[in-house]
């Protein structure tokens, strides 16, 4: 049975620490031991050195695992992330390991694929860590760092996340009350104060 893992660092700035961790033979071994058959790494601007690094380590790839590096995908969600969705009898539930980019996180949520979020702490004002923390608190994602031990631990936690999510998803986040109907942008109404007063006068 196929089981895919996608690592994605985003299109623009790259995330060398995450790419490097995903290219560690120890990490490959861990994925293989958890039943994964494929690891695809989208590494943007890091793709040149990542490709040559992978070439030099070919012999260390576990037999049951395929490892591939690519720069960008025209439509990451349609072309790559969908591979992580289960198909009865053919494909198991996969995994996405991602930088804390909003787009990827929301796409993973849409497809209901488990996601490990690794904030790029070297970015300006480090806003990604806050988002990652919030997501793990809400039960949408697992928060990890680029340290191999943390990543391995996070991979082991995904089944737990999946179970939790099956009871919580698709219902909305904890922030809402259970009975409260969510607001929708299509139902917004603009109320002008003087009109309201006028209609009250008319009624009275």
């Amino acid at each position: 049975m196929e089981k895919h893992c996608l690592v994605t660092v985003g299109a623009t700035v790259g995330f060398p620490d995450l790419t490097r961790a995903a290219l560690e033979p120890v990490f490959w071994g861990h994925l293989a031991s958890r039943g994964f058959t494929s690891l695809r790494i989208q590494c943007g601007p890091d793709s040149d050195w990542a490709t040559s690094d992978l070439d030099s380590k070919m012999s260390q790839i576990p037999q049951e695992l395929n490892v591939d590096v690519f720069k960008l995908s025209k439509n990451l969600m349609r072309e790559e992330m969908t591979l992580c969705k289960p198909v009865e009898g053919k494909r198991g539930v996969g995994l996405i390991i991602s930088h804390a980019g909003t787009g990827t996180i929301l796409d993973a949520w849409k497809l209901a694929v488990p996601i490990i979020v690794v904030p790029n702490t070297s970015l300006l004002d480090d806003h990604q860590t806050e988002l990652a923390r919030h997501l793990s608190k809400e039960g949408y994602a697992i928060h990890s760092s680029t340290k191999l031990d943390h990543l391995k631990e996070a991979v082991d936690k995904i089944d737990m996340l999946r179970e939790e999510n099956q009871t919580r998803w698709p219902p909305h986040s904890l922030e809402r009350g259970a009975t409260e109907q969510p607001a929708s942008i299509w139902n917004i109404e603009v109320v002008e104060a003087h009109k309201e007063e006028a209609s009250q006068l008319a009624q009275g």
């Binding site: 929301l106 969510p182 607001a183 299509w186 139902n187 917004i188 603009v190 002008e192």
Partner: protein, 276 residues
Amino acid sequence: MTSRRGIALAAIGLGVAAVSIQFTTSKHVHVSHVLLQILAVLMATAPVIRHFAVSRHRARTTIDWKRAARQRVGDEYYLFVLGSGGHTKEMLMMMDDGQASFAGIHRRYMVSRGDDMSLHHLEEFESRIGLEYDAAETGTYDVRTVTRARRVHQPLITTPFSALLSLCNIIFGVLLSSPSAGTQRYPTIIFSNGPANGLFVALAVHLLKMAHVIPEGKCAFVYIESWARISTLSLTGKLLHYTGMADGFAVQHQPVALRYGVTNVGPLVFNCRREV
């Protein structure tokens, strides 16, 4: 409405005349000169007064975040300000909430020139609506492209010019250029969720209301802060919050709502239908 616009134009004309006369006759000081000066001062203060009038009207306008589907009385025309990939994705997720019908709704998308990603995403969304809804329930849509206020790596010195060009684009190409016949002349509501061009749209609406071009009951500007902002507002959000240029202002998380004393509408992006 036409007469008010006429008055506004006449006032601007008089102002220009007053100033030019002052320049040509400055050697001879007499009563008419003083009168003209008073007039010039009045001309200068008129926009300020108008600014406060428009602001006061906005302060009295509230946005009702209805929790239940509401009955639409007539046609509606919504303008969606799209930004770079992430913002666009969030906007479309808030829109794609599986509501029963888009009948009578015109959706206009404002996209920055060269933002093919947003264009691609919105076309995917609209084609899905076309496929999933009956022909009578899809409503209509169009797309308008505007110049960027500042491209990445553009030298700072040329920014005022491109920003002005962008503002003109927004005014004439988006706000004043009505969709095809049968729809409303001006947007009922304008939605923005974080990209900087949203600020320009808010500013353009404010100026057009000051000039009596857009009626005050139209173009309600509704800002929904990006879902990614957990505890602080984005720069666009801060500027809109502190200038009070939005008719409706909401965030999607409790910490940021408490910090700035604004409405928390919850994570609207998760209204989106999922592909499970």
